[in-house]
C-alpha cells in the first residue's frame, strides 16, 4: 500500500470512529435532549439585557435585524440596543438613525467608529454596558421572538454558564449554495447540541450568542487580533472552565453567502482563524485537565484538517484522475471516438470494485445521512423543504469544496499569505 493510501485509510478509520462517537452521544443523551426541548420556559424576573449589533455596510439587512430585536418577547425597559457602526461607507448609519427616530420607545444607541473590525466594535459596546447579560447580533441575522427568553432562562439556572448559543438556521435559502449551507447548518444544530452536552462547544456564533457580562469583562473582552473573535472568546471561556451551552429551540436566522465566491471568502476566514486558535491554544490539546474538550474535541478539530487532505486525495484519485486518464487515452488515438461508439459494450463487473474503500465511503455517507436525518427530526426542520435535487451533490460535492478550502488554508498559512477580508 502506498503512503497516500495509508493516509487515506487512517482518515477513513478515524472519521468513522468520530462519527460512531457522536452517534453514541446522541443515543446516550436522547432522553435528556427530549426533556430539555420540552422544558417550560418561565422567568421569575427579567434582567437587563444589552444587544450589541456591530455593522459594516449592512444597509440591506440592518433594518430587519433591528426589527427582529424589538420584536423579542422581552420588556422594552429591560432591553438596550447598541448599534456599532464600524465606519460603514453605505447607508447603514442613515438607516439606523431613521430606525431610532421611529422607535423612540426603545433604548437604542448608535456608536460610530472608524473601521476597525468586529472585535473592536464589540469591545467598544462592552465598555458602555452595565447589564448582567449582553447579546451580540450580526447585522445580517435575525433573532426569533422567543429566543432571548429561552437563553436567559438557562443562564439564570447556572452561574457558571458564561455563554449561551442559539440554534442557527439559514434565512430563506434561494441559491444552490445557500441550500447546501442549509443542510450543513441542520447537521450543525445537532452537532453543537451534542458538543454542548459534553462541554465541548468552542464557538459562540455571531448571530445572537448571549454572554454573562461580568465573565467576559473578567476575561478582557474580545480579541482584536483574532479573525474569528467569536471562537477565540469561546476558547478562553473553556480555558477558565466556564460553561457554554446551546439552548434548545433558541432559533436565529442568518443570511448565508449566496454564491461560491462569498462562501469561499467566509470559510477561508473561519478555517484560517480556527487553525490559528488551535495553534494558540495547543497546550489544551490532549490535556486531560480539560476533559473531553482536551482529549476529544481539540484532536478532532486538528483531524478535520488531515481528513480534508484525505478527502481531496480520494476525490482526485477516484474522480478527477480517471477523467484526465480517459482524456489522455483519447489524445493517444487522435480523439477518434467512432470505433468506441460503434463497438460500445456496457459491462458491469461487480467484482471489479475496490470493496474496502467503497464500503467505508458508503458507510460514512450513511452515517452522515443518518446524522442529518436525526437533526432534522430533533429540530422539526424537514430536509426536503427546499427540494431534494441538491441533497446528493451536498454529500459529495460540498464536502469536497470544504476540504479544498481547508487544504488551501493550511497551504496559505504555511507560505505566510496575509488574510484579506
Amino acid at each position: 500500500m502506498n503512503p497516500i493510501m495509508i493516509v487515506v485509510w487512517i482518515g477513513y478509520i478515524t472519521t468513522l470512529y468520530f462519527l460512531v462517537y457522536w452517534l453514541l452521544i446522541f443515543f446516550e443523551k436522547k432522553d435528556i435532549i427530549k426533556k430539555d426541548h420540552e422544558t417550560e420556559i418561565k422567568l421569575s424576573s427579567y434582567p437587563e439585557v444589552s444587544v450589541l449589533v456591530p455593522a459594516y455596510n449592512e444597509e440591506r439587512s440592518i433594518r430587519k435585524t433591528l426589527e427582529s430585536i424589538i420584536e423579542l418577547e422581552w420588556p422594552k425597559n429591560r432591553l438596550k440596543i447598541i448599534v456599532i457602526n464600524d465606519g460603514s461607507t453605505d447607508k447603514t448609519k442613515h438607516i439606523v438613525n431613521d430606525f431610532i427616530k421611529k422607535h423612540r420607545d426603545f433604548d437604542i444607541k448608535l456608536l460610530n467608529q472608524k473601521n476597525s473590525g468586529k472585535a473592536t466594535s464589540l469591545n467598544n459596546g462592552l465598555d458602555i454596558i452595565r447589564s448582567k447579560y449582553f447579546a451580540c447580533l450580526d447585522a445580517d441575522s435575525f433573532v426569533l421572538p422567543g429566543t432571548l427568553k429561552k437563553m436567559i432562562y438557562w443562564h439564570e439556572k447556572d452561574a457558571n454558564l458564561a455563554i449561551t448559543t442559539p440554534v442557527m438556521k439559514v434565512h430563506e435559502p434561494k441559491t444552490i449554495t445557500q441550500k447546501f449551507q442549509r443542510l450543513e447548518y441542520i447537521s450543525g444544530m445537532l452537532l453543537a447540541k451534542l458538543m454542548s452536552y459534553i462541554d465541548c462547544l468552542y464557538i459562540a456564533p455571531g448571530p445572537f450568542s448571549v454572554y454573562k457580562t461580568a465573565i467576559i469583562k473578567e476575561l478582557g473582552g474580545f480579541d482584536t487580533n483574532s479573525m474569528v473573535e467569536d471562537q477565540e472568546i469561546a476558547y478562553r471561556v473553556q480555558v477558565k472552565h466556564y460553561k457554554i451551552m446551546q439552548v434548545p429551540h433558541a432559533y436565529v436566522k442568518t443570511i448565508a453567502p449566496s454564491n461560491m465566491k462569498g462562501l469561499y471568502v467566509q470559510r477561508n476566514r473561519w478555517f484560517k482563524g480556527s487553525l490559528i486558535n488551535l495553534i494558540k491554544y495547543k497546550k489544551l490539546i490532549f490535556n486531560s485537565t480539560y476533559g473531553d474538550f482536551g482529549v476529544f474535541q481539540l484532536p478532532l478539530n486538528i483531524l478535520a484538517y488531515i481528513v480534508a487532505w484525505g478527502a481531496l486525495v480520494t476525490f482526485f484519485y477516484y474522480s478527477i484522475k480517471p477523467f484526465f486518464d480517459r482524456l489522455y487515452e483519447l489524445w493517444l488515438v487522435g480523439f477518434d471516438i467512432m470505433p468506441y461508439l460503434q463497438n460500445f459494450e456496457w459491462k458491469i463487473d461487480l467484482f471489479a470494485i475496490e470493496p474496502m474503500s467503497v464500503f467505508f465511503v458508503y458507510l460514512m455517507l450513511a452515517f452522515s445521512v443518518l446524522f442529518l436525518y436525526l437533526s432534522s427530526r430533533v429540530h422539526g426542520d424537514k430536509v426536503r423543504k427546499y427540494g431534494w435535487v441538491y441533497i446528493l451533490p451536498y454529500f459529495f460535492l460540498y464536502f469536497i469544496i470544504m476540504s479544498y478550502i481547508m487544504v488551501r488554508v493550511v497551504l496559505e498559512l504555511l507560505i505566510g499569505k496575509k488574510q484579506k477580508w
Partner: protein, 231 residues
C-alpha cells in the same frame, strides 16, 4: 466551574464498534477476494473446455481439405473464445490489483492465461494455413511492473481492436511472470523480443511503442481492408 470529565466508557464503546465495523469490512474484502478467485477458476475451466472444442474442430478441419462450411464455423467459435479470453485476462489483472491476500494464486492464474493466449495464437496461425481467413494476429508483450508506456500501447491496440473488430486478434502476454513461466522465455527469444512493449504482427516483431499512425499503417498493410477503413 465546569466539572470536566473524560468519558472513558464512551471512548471504549466507540473503539469496539469501529473495530467491529473495520473487521466486518476486512472480512467482506476477504470473502470478495475468495469469490473472485473462484469466479476466475470457473472462467478458466470454461476456457479450457472451449479450447478443447476448438482443437477438435481444428483436427477435423485438418482431416478434410477445402471444408468451407467447417472453416466458417471454426472462425466464429474462435472469434468468441479469443474475445472471452481477452476479457478474462483483463479481469484477472484488475482483480489482482485489489487482492490483498491471494497474490500466489493470481500468479498461477496469470501463468495459465499466458499459456492459453499462446496456444490460441498458435492454433489460429495453424488454422490460417487451412482456412482462408482475413485475420491478423497480434502477440502483444507487455509488463505492468517495468514498463510505464505499456498502458499507452494497450490503449492504441484496444482502439484498433474496436476499429477492426474480429479481423484483429490480439493476444496479450504479461511478461511479469516470465521467471515463473519458462515458455515465455522461449517465445520471446524466438521472436527476438528485447524490450517492452513489443508486438509480433503476423510474423514480424516490432520492439518499442508504436503510435497510432505507425501501428495503423502496419495493420492496414497486412490486413485486407478497404481504404476507408484505414483512413
Amino acid at each position: 466551574m465546569v466539572e470536566r470529565k473524560i468519558s472513558k466508557q464512551r471512548y471504549i464503546a466507540a473503539t469496539v464498534i469501529t473495530t467491529f465495523i473495520f473487521i466486518f469490512g476486512v472480512l467482506l474484502g476477504l470473502v470478495l477476494d475468495y469469490e473472485r478467485v473462484e469466479y476466475l477458476q470457473f472462467e478458466y475451466s470454461k476456457n479450457e473446455l472451449d479450447y478443447k472444442s476448438l482443437q477438435m474442430q481444428f483436427s477435423l478441419l485438418d482431416m478434410e481439405e477445402e471444408d468451407m462450411k467447417g472453416c466458417a464455423a471454426f472462425e466464429k467459435v474462435m472469434e468468441s473464445t479469443v474475445s472471452e479470453l481477452a476479457d478474462s485476462l483483463e479481469a484477472v489483472q484488475t482483480y489482482r490489483e485489489y487482492s490483498a491476500t491471494k497474490k500466489d494464486q493470481y500468479d498461477i492464474i496469470e501463468r495459465r492465461y499466458a499459456l492459453d493466449n499462446l496456444r490460441y495464437w498458435m492454433i489460429v496461425k495453424r488454422a490460417q494455413k487451412i482456412c482462408p481467413m482475413n485475420k491478423l494476429t497480434v502477440l502483444y508483450f507487455f509488463s505492468l511492473d517495468n514498463c510505464p508506456v505499456c498502458p499507452n500501447q494497450g490503449v492504441i491496440l484496444t482502439y484498433f481492436k474496436k476499429k477492426f473488430d474480429d479481423k484483429l486478434l490480439i493476444f496479450p502476454i504479461n511478461t511479469d511472470i516470465s521467471e515463473k513461466e519458462p515458455m515465455l522465455d522461449v517465445i520471446q527469444s524466438r521472436y527476438n523480443i528485447t524490450s517492452y512493449p513489443s508486438i509480433v504482427i503476423g510474423d514480424d516483431t516490432y520492439n518499442g511503442i508504436l503510435d497510432k499512425d505507425a501501428l495503423g499503417s502496419i495493420i492496414c498493410s497486412k490486413l485486407n481492408v478497404s481504404e476507408g477503413e484505414c483512413s
